[in-house]
Amino acid sequence: MTAHAESHSAHEKKHHGAGFYIGIWIFLLFCTAATYGAAQVDMGAWNLPVGLAIATLKGAVVCLFFMHLWGDTRANQFILILSLLFVTLMISMTLADVNTRFPLTAPPNSQRFKVNPNGQLE
């Protein structure tokens, strides 16, 4: 955890020059263009993962450099990781539920999973 004795180090942290931030900004614009371009190409099932990957990359860059999480105390980094962990946990468990549920308990036309004759999940 944070060594609360570290008195003034928060101020003398290595400071990036203004150009560094503009560089990050250009990288982010490039990623936005990439995600826009990737959306035009129809990659079938791969579009969502690619889009999410680019968005996560941009998010990580904003967090690490714009929000100075790179050299920050471990507690701050831990909070972000923990909340993202709980977000993925919530989404994955709810989706797992709706996809393996008794087929007719899901809305009528969302049965995209294999069903054997008497409505049993395979």
Binding site: M1, H4, L82, L121
Partner: protein, 547 residues
Amino acid sequence: MSLAVVPEAAPHEAAQEPDYIRAKSGVLSWLLTVDHKRIALLYLGTVTITFFLGGLFALALRTELLVPDHGIMDAMTYNRMFTLHGVTMVFFFMIPAIPGVFGNFFLPIMIGAHDVAFPRLNLLSYYLYLAAVILGLWGMIHGGTDTGWTFYTPYSTTTTTAVLPILAAAFINGFSSILTGVNFIVTIHTLRADGLHWMRLPLFLWSIYGTAVIQVLATPVIGITLALAGVEHFLGTGIFDPAHGGDPILFQHLFWFYSHPAVYIMVLPAFGVASELVGAFTRKPLVGYKMIALSTFGIAFVGFLAWGHHLFTSGQSAVDAGVFGFVSMLIGIFTSIKIFNWVASMYKASIYMTSPFLYTLGFFFLTVFGGMSGVALATISLDVHWQDTYFVIAHFHFIMAGGVVLMFVGGLHYWFPKMFGKLYNEGWAMVAAVLVILGFIGTFTPQFLLGNEGMPRRYYSYPPHFQFLHVTSTIFAYILGMGLLLALINLIIGLINGPRAGNNPWGAPQYEWDTPSPPPEHNFSATPVINRDPYEYRGQEIIENAN
């Protein structure tokens, strides 16, 4: 502690500095205070009012259930009563009670700080909580709602009763809970006195820290869920309405994603108070300090994974039921670690029999039975029979009413001399404690059998063969009510003309007993240096209680 070196028997030396009650006077000094101790007393006042209000609703329910059919109220009033009992107790008493009152008062003192990290944010949290209570009361006056404290859609979005004020009250209460959590975590991280490294943190603060983590990360989900239900009720946007493709089970997932960790927001502080009481009255260092601290975090994190055991019979898939059932079993382990270590701490101890410790014994008994019934409920095939019956009501009342309320009242008795500088009448407190514990056991044990018989919960009228168990439960409910009232009256009498209490009436080893009682406004004249463990008992002379 530097102060500890001073010979214990000289409480008068700190008397020149006025204590926090007499430091300032006037209503404004109380309403706009940023002193964490005064905010704690404001919380104490509001929390006691909401507790007895919730208790009145409960007694009304129990009286109605004396007879199988129409008793003293009609069905709609009964439904409103059990909803208001649920909402008042869950949102306005149990979530803010122990962190709000004891967390606020003793967190800075225990870590040797002058105040919490963000004092004004602390006051803002109290006023958000007060606004939520007032909005809730306003909703109650306007007839309240009859959806139950779980607000399940599509009933909560199509009911004609005034559900919006209660939803808004719970929403605002969430923010107060989040801000308190943020405040406590930052305080524990940054304001610890020198020498107080993590392994010397009192166990009460470990449980407050675990609770704060859950408060910060789980409460926003209920905020957004209730907002969605409110907008759905108001505008009909169809997010939970099956006619437009929505899914009511999604509401249940989002609701329980908060509400299961919320039950650990309620019970973890109670475990913390229990650890303090056992540490104080067994006159020896606590057994398994590390294990108890670690199991606090175990409960806090694994608590986030087990929300699905509330949906076993709601059409959830068997795969999910398996995963949630397995994780729910793990939580049972952490609670059993705590209980085993507490009981082991009583081995070869020198137990000092006082009313707070009697509450702790009651707490052990009720939490063991409550916890065991919880594990039985987590066994999925048994839960199919027990879900939504009185067995579930008995389970969570054993832990909530038995655990949280007993530890709130026990903690209040234990810290009463420190908070108010007065001593209450020990004899009457013992009588009240016995009444309260007997009342709990008598009220909720019959409900286990009712659950087995298959009596569903939230039933206004029931088949006649359940009546005998309901009558016994109601009789003991009145005994419980009288016991709690007696305890309150005893404390008030102690407050008015109780004898003055010294710094350490119980001879307890923890840090907060080294400050004068009641402590001065900034807690310590000199910033303390902590050089001992919290439960290291140093042969302090037991100052016999005045009465």
